[in-house]
Structure formats: C-alpha cells, structure tokens
Symmetry: C5
Subunit: 334 residues, 5 copies
C-alpha cells in the first residue's frame, strides 16, 4: 500500500453538474462565487471539488451550504469511513482506491455531503473514476437523470466499491503467484512480499469494516435524505462490501497460510542441505580414522609389513562407505 | 477446491415442470416464449434454467416475471449465499457442491426466485442432483405434489445441503488418512495436502456461514412466501447447516492439529538423524586424535618403540568407544 | 475419544415404567402393541427404547404418539444436542458419555420426547446409568414419584450431566500426569497423548456447547411442558453445564500449555545433547591439528629432533584442553 | 496456585454477630440451637460458619432458614461465583484468595445467603480477613451499624475483592522479576515459572469472570434484597472487578510476551554457542588438511626437502587463520 | 511506557477560572477557603487542582461540592477511564499522555467533576497541555466563553485526546524505523524494542478501550449535564477515540508482524552462517581423508614410489573441491 501521496497543491478543480429529466449543464471553469450562484433547487446540483489545499474555497462552500465546523474538519482530515446525519444534510466519507501500479494501491479519501437538492463531493487529488458516469448523465443513459441526488450518491459509491473488487482480485492473484513461487524456487524474496501483502490487507480492513458500518447506518437512516425507494440500491452496495470483507478475511487466512508454507519450505530446504552435508561428514570421519591408524609410526605394527594391507584397507574403507550409504538410504536420511 | 470451471457455453437447458395434486406435465424442448405461455397460476410452475450464458434468455424470463435489475445481476454474478425479499417474489441463492473427483470439490451457484405460484431456478452448469426429486414428483410420491412452491424450494435446498454432508465426510476421512500417513511415513507430501485441506475448509466456510444467515432470515421472513406450516422444514435445513458449520469448525481445529503433528514428526525425525550422525562424529573425533598422536614424527617417543604399543592403543580406543557409546545410551542421546 | 461403536443389532429393549404417588409398575418383556396399550394418562409413563435398529418399532411408537417425521429422523440420525418444541410434545436430545476404559470415552446419543403425561427415551445402545433412579422410583425415595414427567426428564438429564464431570475430572488428571511425565522423562510418547486429549476436548466441546444452548432454550420455553415450579432444577443443570464448559476451556488452555511444555522440553534436551557433542568436537579438532603438525614429513623440522618435544606437545595439548573446558564452563556452554 | 487444601475437619466455628445502631452482641461458643434462637428480626443477624464438614450443622441452619436443597448443595460443593435469587433470600458465592506464601495463592469458596434481616456466610476453612470489619462494627466506626444486612454483604465482598488486588499486584511484580531474570541470566528455570504464572492466571480468570457477571446480576436484581440506595456500592465493587479483569488480561498478554522473550533468549544463546563452536571447527579443519598434506609419504615431494618448508607452512596456516577470523568478524558471524 | 512517576509532593497548585460571555477572572494564589467562596453560580467556574497529595485540600473541595465518598476515592486512586453519574454532578476520568522523551510515554490520571455551573479537574502532577485553551478563554476566542461548563469539559477532553494522536503517530514511526533496522542490520537489539512497543500498546489499549466506553455512556447520558446541543462535540471526540483504537489495533498487528520479520531475519542469518560453515567443513573433510591415505606407512603402497603421485593427488583434490563447490552452488546451498 503506497503511502497516500502528497496532495498536488497547484491544481484545484471545481465543477458543477446540474440535471433533471429535461435539462443538463456542466460548469467547470467558473470562479467559486459564480458557480455557487448557478445552482437551482429544482435540479440535482452535483458540486465536485478536486484538491483540498485551497482552504478558502472549502470555507466558501461551507458557508454557502452552512456546513458544521466539525464536518469541515472531517472533510480535510483523514479518518475512517463514516456517516454523520445533520439537520440539513448527510455526511458520508470513504476511501477511494483508484490506481494500481506494480501491484501498489493508491488511495484517497472522498467525502460527500448530500442535501435535499444537491450533492457535494470532496476529493483530495485530481482524477477520478467517475467520467463514464458523467457521460451517462450527459447522454441521459440509464436511470440517473430520472432520479434525485441520493441516487447519484449511490452510483458514485457503487463505482468506488467496484474498484475494491479490482484491487482484491489482484491481491488474490498475487497470493497464488507467491504460493507458486515458494513451492518452485523459494528464493527468500517471498517473505517480504508476504509481509507487504499482510500490510495491504490490514489497511484494506481499516477501509472496509467502517465502510460497512457506515452503509448500514445509512440504510437505517430515517432522516429522509435517502428515498425509501432507493434503499435497495444502498443495500446492494452494502452486500457488496460485506462480500468484499468476506474475501478480505479469506485472503488473510490464505496469507497466513502462505507464511506457513514459506516457513515450511525454508525449513525443509535447510534440513535437506544440513542432512546431506552431515551425512558426507559422517561417512568420511570414520574413513579418516582408519587411514590415521596406519599413519601411526609404531615400530611393531604387523599390518604395515604385510603385502596386501594397502588394498585390504581400501577394501575395508569401501565396504564401510557402501554400508553407511546403504544404511542411511534405508533409514531415508538423505 | 477446484476453481469454478468455465460455464459450457453451447448447452443451455430450459425446463418447465408443472404440477398440483392431480396434474403433472414437463416441457423441456420448447422455445422460451412458448414455455412461458404454458405456465398456469393454479399449478406449481417450476422453471429451471441450466447455463447462464444466454443473456437474452435470462432477460426474457426477467421481463416475464418482472424481476428487479439488481436481482438479475445477482443471478449472473457470483456472490455469497443470500436471501432478498421483493414485493412479488423472494430471491434465494446458495452454492451447490455436486461432484467429487480425487477428493476435489466442484461447485456452482444456484439461484432461486420463489413467487406465489412459481419457482425459478438458475444453474450455471448442466447436470444437477434433482433427478430423483423430479421422478418423485412425476410419480406423486411423498408430500411434494400436495404442497406449494415453497415446499418445492425446501426440497431442493435440502438436497443441496445433503450433498454438503457427503463432502464434509470425505474431508473428515482425508484428515484421518493424512494423520495416519504422517505418523507412519511422513514423506513431506502431507504438507501440501494439509494446505489444500485448509483452503477447502476456508472456501466451505465462505459457502456455509452466509447460507446459515440466509436461512435464518428466510425463516424469520414474514412476507408470506413461506407458508408458516412449512417453516419447520426450513428450520430443519437450518439446523443441518448449523451442524455442518459445527463439523467444519471441528475439522478446522483438527487440520490445525494436523499441522502440529506434521511439524512435530518432521522435527523429531530430523533431530533423530542429526543426533545419530553427530554421535558418530563425536565418537570418531577423539579416536582420530589418538591415532594422530602416534603419527607424529618425533625422534624421541618411547611408545613408538615399545613392542605392545599398537595393541594397547587399539585397546584404549576400543575402551573409549565403548565408554562413549554406553554414556550416550545412558544419557538416551540416541 | 472412541468412535461411536456400531449399534449392536440383535438386542432391542423396550421398557415401560408407570408411576404416580400411589402406583408403580414396570413392563419390559411385552410386545410393542401390548405395551403401548398399557399407558394411562393419569400416570407418568416412561417408555424407554434401547437400540434404534428396529425401524418398525420406532415407527410404531411414532404413530402412537403422532411424532413428526422430522423428529423421527432426528431420533435415528446423529446431530448436536437440541431442543425442539412441537404442539403436543417437546423434543430434547443430548450426548451420553457412559463408559471409560483406558481413558477412552464412549458416547451415544439419547433423545427424549416429553409429552403431557409421558416421557419417551431413545438410546442407541444397551445399558444406561439410570438403574439407581429406576430403583428410587420403585421404592418411592426422594421427590420423583410426587412429580410429573418433566421432573423425570430433569433427573435423567442430571444423571447424564453428572457423568460429564467424571469424564472431565479424568481429563484433568491426565493433563497433570502428562505434564509430570514430560518434565521427568519426555519420551516423545507424550505428543500423541496430548493430541488425543486435544481431540477429546474438541469432541466434548461439540457435545457441551449446544447442550448449554438447548438447556437455555428449554428453560425459557413457555409451552408449559416444563412446570414453572421445576424450572429451578433445569436452571441448576444449566449452571452445571456452564461450569463444565468453563472447565473445558481451562483444560483446553492447559492442553495447549502442555504442547508448549512438551516442545520446550524436547528442544532443551536436543540443545543440550547437541551442545555437549559439539563441545567435544570443538575440543578435539585443535588437538588433532596439533598432532597433525608433527606428523608432517619435512626434513627440516627442528622440534622433531628435540628430546622433550613429545612431552611438551602433550603438555601444550593438555593446557589447551583444560583452557577450553574452563572457558566453555565459564561461558556456561555445557 | 496451590490446590485447595483439605478442609481441616476438627475445627468448626459458628458465630453470631447482631447489631443495629444502638445494640451490638456477639456469640461464638454457643451450640447451634441456642444460637439460632438468639436472632432477632429487628437487628442485623450475621451468622458465620467456618468449616463445612459438619453436615448436620449446615442442615440445621438450612432448616431454620428454609434454604432450598439445591442451595445447600451449592454451599458445600465447588462451583464458579454465582448469584441465585430465591423468594426469601439471595444466594451469592465467590472465591476468597486469602493467603500468599512464596507467591502461592490459596483460595476457598465463600457463600452468602442474604435474607431480609440476616446474612449467613459459609466458609470452608478457619481464618478470614474480616476481623478489622468485626472490630469496626463493635466500635461503631463508619457506616455499617447504620445500615442493613445488604450493606454488610457489600463490605464483606469489598474486603474479598481488595485481596485480589494484592494477589494481582504480586503477579505483576513476578512478571517483571522473571523478565529481568530472563534477560540477565536465563537459566532455563524461568520456563516453569512462566508456566506456573499462566496456570495461576487461568484459575484467576475462572474466579473473576463469573464474579463480574454475578455482581452485574446482583446490581440489576429487582427483588428488593439490595436497598437501591446501596446499589452504588455494589456498582463500585463491580467496577473494581472489571478493573481486575482488565489487569488480568494485561498480565496474560505480558506472560505470553514473557514466553516469547524466554524462547528468543534461549535461541539467541544457543545460536551464539553453536556459531562460535562451528567457527572454531571451520578454522581448524582446513589447517588440519594442510598439515595432512605434508604428512603424506610420497617419495617425490619437493617441499619436504626444501629447507624453509616448515616455517612457510606455519606462515601459510597463520595467514589462513587470520584471514578466516577477519572474514568471519567482518561478516559478523561471531 | 514509563511507569507513572511518583507525584511530586511539595507542589500543589489550586486555580479558579471564572467566565461567561462578559466576564473573566482567574485566581491561583488564594487559599482554598477564599477560593471556594469566590465561585458564582451565574458564571462557569473551573477549579483545577494539580497534585493530589494534599488530602485535606481534596476533602475540603469534596465537602464544598458534597462529593460522594466513593467518588473521592476514585479521584485519588488509579482506575480505568470511567464515567459515573451522580444526582448533582457527573464524574469523568481518563488518562492524560503528556510528555514524550526518547519515545517514552508518561501519563497521569485526570478526573473531572461536572456540576451545573462548575467543572472540577484533578490532576496528579504539575503541568498540563491546557494553557492555550486558558489563553483562548481569557481573550474570548472561539466559542468557549459563549458556552457552559459542559463545553469546557469537551474542550479539555478533546485536547487530551489530540495528544494521543501524537503518541500513536510516534509509535507508527517507531514501527517503521524498527522494520527498517531489522531488514538492514538486525543487531538483535530490535527484539527488546519490539517488546517495549508491545507493552506500550498494551497499556494504551488499557487507556483507550474504557475511554471509548465512557464517552459512549456520556453521550447516551440523559441526566442533562450535557446540553443536547453539545452532544455532537462529544460524538466527535468519541469517533476520534474510535479511530485511535482502530490505529492501535493496526499497530498491534504490525508489531506482531515485526516479530515475525525479526525472527525470520534472525533465522535466515543463522541458517546462512551455518550453511557456509558446514559447506567448508564438508569440502575439507574428504580432502583430509585423501591426504590421510597417503600418510599411511604401509611398506607396499605403489603410489608412494610413483614419481607423479604428489601432483596427481593435488590434481585429484582440486577436482574434488571444484566439483563440490559447483555442486553446492548448483544446488543453491550457499
């Protein structure tokens, strides 16, 4: 999991998309005050802010929509996914996983404020996976234009959650790859990979568990920000997140199995090496003793003068060696 | 656990079974529109679809029974067992384990839609374990013909759950076999088998835990799709699944014990080998030293010229050896 | 834990005990139809069946008392302890642990059906621990004759639960014995004993946890099968079972400590052996080098011709040896 | 944890303390029937029995206060801390830890029966930590004389729970001591100490968890045995017990850390020894080979006849040795 | 985690801060009786006591505000964070982490008593992180002067909780540093650091979990001490604490991963050393045998007299050595 990269300070994008069944308009190069004036209560107003470095901008939006000071703090500081119900709006935040490079996960926090006729979204960084949806809204494809801001919120969350599947699938594949590697070549590099996987799973858990709770709270919410007719959609996202958590737990178990497999392979390998080496030593040590015996300089050693001693000693040593090899093989020691 | 094999694309089977206490008919070679026309509200209509590759077919059924778009998505995508209550029907899905080859488990997802007078079942692949039931319905054996579609759903779920017992029993036997093998021959192959078992148990857990929750929700359901008189049957399936989960947990504990046993046997074996080999080295090293002493070329070494030196050295070495062997044996070092 | 032995097929015992405060009668050699006719609603009728192989017998009883088909299935198939409330009767089943041979536990499933004026008990095998109670009923000792069938059920369950104490105490003693053995002689046999213990504890857990839940459900039951005045008795059994589970958990912790102790003792032992052996090698290897030096055949080696070389070499070697021994001892290496 | 020592059979102490704001009297040498007659409903009557071996005595008290047969069984048999509400009285039992010798814990079960105007206490063994309280009652210090029997019960439980703090603090100190010992001298004795600690913590857990539950039940009790004005006192004891459990869990974590530390220190130590020894062998083995070379008896070995061979060989060997030592040091192998 | 240092006995600081929207006054050098007289019900009176050694002082405050005896005991004795509701005031206590030296955490217990128009705070030691807040109150910055004592309590708790973030971030950095160190140089010192981290996390958990529960109780409190309009502020602190606990759990997982990493690195290192050393021995042992052969003194050994024996032996030995090195390399044994 790549550490949240520093927000790029020089690019702040502010965008307003307005629509209902009949109308659609989009503004993205307007100054903030202009833009805020354009919103109309009879349309769905989606105001999206990329980049949270311009504090004044956030404050102006805050004043316009009379956002609570604690809520503004929540938008700009990192915290676990959360839903907060206020009198005039609903706050919802979650982590967005949106890029994968060399199996690295990058994430940012996205916050939503859902009012009666508007949806605010605050992103930390430029770039998001919502372009397809923007296009579908513009072209009036699917249901979005017929629905209110709460349905828009559902669509955005759904897109974000779908990206989790991509990430988790990649993790699943990594687990299989690492397992393959361990069984085949166990170079010792796998240990670090497993540790990295474990960390990623820990961070994903931190993103997913509170998200599930937040969604649950959202579904049970009775403040009327979510149209009861749309509750089923949020339930569906909820069950997707539950499924993701399920998979996460499975991957955690598999990763801890990976560690077992790694340790076992390492051990088996070491044991094998040590056994073979020890066996070699064990065979040569008695032989060295035998030749040592006949290296003694005693004057009276009858064997020394016997003509066939030398070949006989070789024969004996060969016998000993073969005997030991057979014995070790029989005992399955190497 | 074998990965869900690719759905076979060329074979889609659509089948309608209609019955009440007096009538029975079965259609399986009709085009979809024909078939849908034949259903009659006074009968139980069981429409079974094998193979989900023909998207148009699924859509036509969806339109006919006005299935919700989220539900259609659920039918065709993989997800944990789940029950969803809609106004006009009840959705229930679970995993079907239906074939075992070399202790491999194959599974597919089966989805049910239970309406007032019909039951739809969607299978991913051809072939199912329901033929006996179809025959019993045709021949009017047992209670099925006297009951409504909800009882049919119970019977189908019951058959699927019964198959889980077969699979779990096979796993129980495997655990015992592997334990036997470890104690008797520990070839190192057992490690992978244990790992495979662990994975299968993880996947079974993923299939069973949500199934229990779904059944619980089904029993507590008050929408009227399940006749209260039939609730006891679903309760019975529920307690079967609870029993299966129980066994699963036991098998998990036993499998983790297996790992302990495996590791211990491996260690004991290695230790034994190392100890014996080390003992051999330890005995010969002092002997080699002794013979080394009399291999020195000093001019003035009185022993070299003594007539009985050689046999005495042998005697000393024999004594040392026997002494060490006894000492090691006494210390139970090998 | 001994696998449930095969039910002995040839011996099926059917017995009827009838009593109230004034009357007592017992029939055990009557054919089933005769026996069923004898029951009288004004008495407590306890019908006990040993051996479930005679399916027809079970069926006849089932018809007589109009037992539900699912209940009959439950009686004859194995499942976790369970209570099921029906309109006309209450079903209760649990595991009976009743024999201990060489610390082996044998168990069987016993099922009860409690009606308004009768109690049916179904045992898998001949022989039970209820004879003392039968005698107390006959002789009108204690409260049993003054109470109804629900109190009889309590007494039977109480007797069964008391047997669990015996079994758990035996396990407690085994744990202490094994610990003693490990500390004193650690022969390697203890590993299998610990594994066996662990398995027994797993199976006991499977018997006890659902039993506690079933008793809890029984106490909270409001169907009237249990006289509220007798609830305290069932509560008492409940707290006994809770106590047993408590002990079970303790024993599980102790058993896992046993494994730690075993592994540690094994390791300590191995390490000690290896250390001593390695120390011996380490002492002799430099000595062997020294004598090797003077085994060289160089023409110009002044020491060879010096008169005191030989004793000096011995002195040097002695010094080296003593030095190393002291050093190793000082370092506490053996 | 010392096994509950056998109750001393020959000493049974029965004592009656009566008081209200104005009166106080104490009887402890009276026969049971006398004593029971003396109790007066307008006073708080505290009857304390030390030693449960005199069954007749317990029975007489049981009859006098019409105690339930199950309750009498509970008083004389061991069980986890428990509260039981009866119509006429409240039963409360817990474990009393009251002596520490060489860090050994001795405990006994104490049972209380709280009636409208009396409190019965049953101890297994002579001696208790209540003498200070008895004195405070006699001298009318603090609130006790102004309050009823329920407050007396609180004071007694409070004293018992305070003793747990002493025991847990002692365990905390032991943990620190053992850690110190392991880091400093690791003699291998620490293993058994840690095991003993673990056992004590297991037994304390068995005493404390149910005590917390019992106190909770007591506080929520609505039978009126506890004056609502005194509930805060029992809540205070409850939070003490909760704090104790907290510490217990901490100590459990620390103890399991101790095991890690112990194992690691053992391993580090062993590894160090083995490494040094192996390094010595590794240095001398090549040297032994070199001298072996010049111990060969070939007729044509030019070095043998060269004058400076011997010193050159020594130089070579020295170089090799120093090279290896430096290499090993550089590699940080010893 | 540094053990709570001894309270400094000689410095007890008593301070009264009074304010409302219009007035502000601060007294800190007055004797206790004077000070208590100055409080006025129309203002927020914040009485802060640093140092709990002056028992008389605490008692005087206790009498003035009629604090319950159990509450006074709680103020002066250590216990987990807790909220207690009394009729006239609310008691709240938590741990304050306020200094970090060489990554050491120092903490003290701070207790609050919130009445209708006053807030008492009791600190064990001099020095607190509230000076900025005192200044903001004096200068009438932010909302504090407009709010009541409950908001002041929120601000104080918020400041304390913010300090936890600092501590946890430092721990997070330590974990990364230690991991870096282990991978790069693993000197064996890391083990103790990890153990220290684990202990700190255990103690932080003891501070944070009950704090979350206490805050939850505070929010749900209906006694009216907390103005419903301020509940959101306490909810915000609650979610901060929940976030901290989340991070704590993550750090615990990471720390236990650290142990794995440490053990693995240690093992890998040892294995490497042992393997290289063993390989060296294994290469030289056969060579030593070969030279031993030609050190034998048999009269009839044809090789001894052959002119090229010596170079041939060298060639053979070289071949053996190179062969073995290649074989070991090929087998990846070193």
């Amino acid at each position: 999991m790549k550490k949240k990269s520093e927000p790029i300070p020089n690019q702040v994008i502010l965008e307003l998309i307005q629509y209902n069944e009949k109308e659609f308009s989009k503004y993205d190069a307007l100054p903030i005050d202009e833009l805020l004036k354009r919103q109309r209560a009879e349309l769905v107003n989606w105001i999206n802010l990329d980049g949270l470095t311009d504090g004044e901008l956030v404050n102006k939006i805050g004043i316009q929509f009379s956002l609570h000071s604690l809520l503004l703090e929540d938008i700009t500081s990192e915290h676990p996914p959360r839903v907060e119900e206020y009198d005039e709006y609903l706050f919802f935040s979650l982590k967005m996983l949106y890029r994968i490079e060399n199996n690295e996960i990058d994430y940012e926090q996205i916050s939503f404020v859902l009012g009666r006729h508007y949806l605010l979204s605050f992103q930390e960084k430029e770039g998001d996976p919502f372009d397809t949806l923007r296009e579908r809204i513009r072209l009036d494809m699917g249901r979005v234009r017929k629905k209110k801001a709460d349905y828009l919120l559902y669509r955005l969350i759904d897109i974000i959650v779908d990206n989790y599947y991509v990430v988790l699938d990649a993790i699943g594949q990594q687990i299989e790859q690492i397992e393959e590697q361990i069984y085949n070549s166990n170079t010792g590099q796998e240990f670090r990979k497993i540790q990295r996987l474990k960390k990623e799973l820990i961070f994903l858990r931190k993103a997913l568990y509170p998200l599930r709770d937040a969604l649950n709270k959202l579904i049970k919410d009775e403040s009327g920000f979510i149209d009861p007719a749309n509750e089923r959609f949020f339930s569906d996202v909820y069950s997707h997140v539950a499924h993701l958590i399920d998979s996460l737990d499975t991957y955690r178990d598999l990763t801890s199995s990976l560690m077992d497999i790694y340790m076992n392979t390492q051990n088996t390998r070491l044991n094998e090496v040590m056994k073979v080496l020890t066996v070699i030593s064990t065979i040569f040590i008695p032989l060295t003793f035998i030749v040592g015996v006949y290296g003694m300089n005693f004057q009276f050693m009858p064997e020394l003068h016997w003509k066939f001693s030398y070949p006989v000693v070789w024969a004996v040593m060969l016998t000993v060696t073969i005997g030991m090899v057979f014995y070790f093989r029989y005992k399955k020691w190497f």
